[in-house]
Amino acid sequence: MKKLINSTDTVLEESLDGLAAAHADILLLGVERKFVRRRTLKPGKVALISGGGSGHEPLHAGFVGIGMLDAACPGQVFTSPTPDQMIEAAEAVDTGAGVLFIVKNYEGDVMNFTMAAEMAGREIVSVVTNDDVAVEKSTYTTGRRGVAGTLIVEKMVGAAAEKGMPLAALKALGDHVNRRTRSMGVALLPCTVPAAGRPNFTLTDNEMEMGVGIHGEPGRRRVPLASADDIAAEMLNAILGDLAPGKGSEVMLLVNGFGATPLIELYLMANSAKRILDGAGIAATRFLTGSYVTSLDMAGVSITVSVLDSQAKELWDAPVHTAALRWGI
């Protein structure tokens, strides 16, 4: 395991301290680093809180700030945070307009956020994101994972909250954006949890894992390494098959690196994906290309497509000032 760390026990703490120092103008750390919060709250605004296991940086703490989240609760690496974190974060950032949790659909996350909502003694509503089409949907199972599409939900709901949208409407908006957003991922190389010290799986030089999530878990299938075009085609086939956007639809294209994927490859993938969308008569009019929802040092990429309407475009384009996304401010 080769990592820039001091000790496997303190990775999370030290990284959070670095984040807080580098973005002291907009961020504050909660006591015992239980949460990262927006420095200046906006009274009367619904408080948006997200969180999840660490190892997905910049998600979620990198999306705390003006026009996005009010607080993020970082769990241990790949481990949902505990209810006390969400309870204390809610205590710190609720200005009286209620609290919305944005939770990725994993049983650990859902259970911990649910317990927090039960125990917090304040009005809390949750949006659960589940954009990963790699997981086949079934009413009997856990359902789909929340992956990179979560950032689109956080951005759009964050922009609406900043404009004063009330809690119930934000919940409806979050669910709506989530339903119109689908993702799929592929890993070329596995990742290593610092405390585990060894990767969760190994791949030969000619293999990749198709349909992986963001926790270093194996995907649905191990397949031979394929070209960028073929990978993009398989992913978009699954995504578009599920989303079924009409011809002439406008979409946002998010090409997301998993942590060890260089930008030159991500832009190349964006190009492959755009060509396929063009061919399907779907207009990608918003792009985000970079490593935003990662899986430690995993090499690979996910593609997310989110169907846009005029409200969605307005919310995406609205000013945002966070550690990882910034424009208009």
Binding site: T79, S80, Y106, G108, T142, G213, H215
Partner: protein
Amino acid sequence: MSLDRVARERLVRALAGAVIEHADELTSLDQAIGDGDHGLNMKRGFEAVLAALPGLADKPLPEMLKAIGMTLVMKVGGASGPLVGTFFMELGKALPEQPSRADLVAATERAIEAVKARGRSEAGQKTLLDVLVPVHAILAGGGDAKAIAIEAVQAADRTTPMLAIRGRASFLGERSIGHMDPGSRSASLLISAAVETLEFEVNT
């Protein structure tokens, strides 16, 4: 059954010891079909429980179990934190200070129901319920400590060929088959440690 302060401390140390000693094994199991943190999670939780000793053992049994549960909920995170934590909390809520065997059967049943509700899950889905439920059946049927411990080990083994319907392993579909469920293994370790300690107490 009556557990004095020393016995309660011995019980807590046995539970924590079982998990901490096997943390690497639990993590390896979770690496195969999960995200490779189960041993780390359980270890973190039970280290926090150990850190609350000896004070923890000063509490009466029900209070002690509730405190263990709350500590696990607030320290473990992930899926196992709320589930194992809930199990201990509900056990504490349901047990009297000096429980009879019937009390133990009823309280365990209630704790299992609470885990099912929290996890929206049932036995047969390749989760720790596949250990808790059959072990409870042995307990309710009058099985002795040895029978319970054997069933705990065998029940965990029986999760190997199962298809995961709940938990992270479910994302793998068919690829979840052929690996033991990590949560079942930790549940089995906790049960074995508990019955061994309790048998020792009852027999001495």
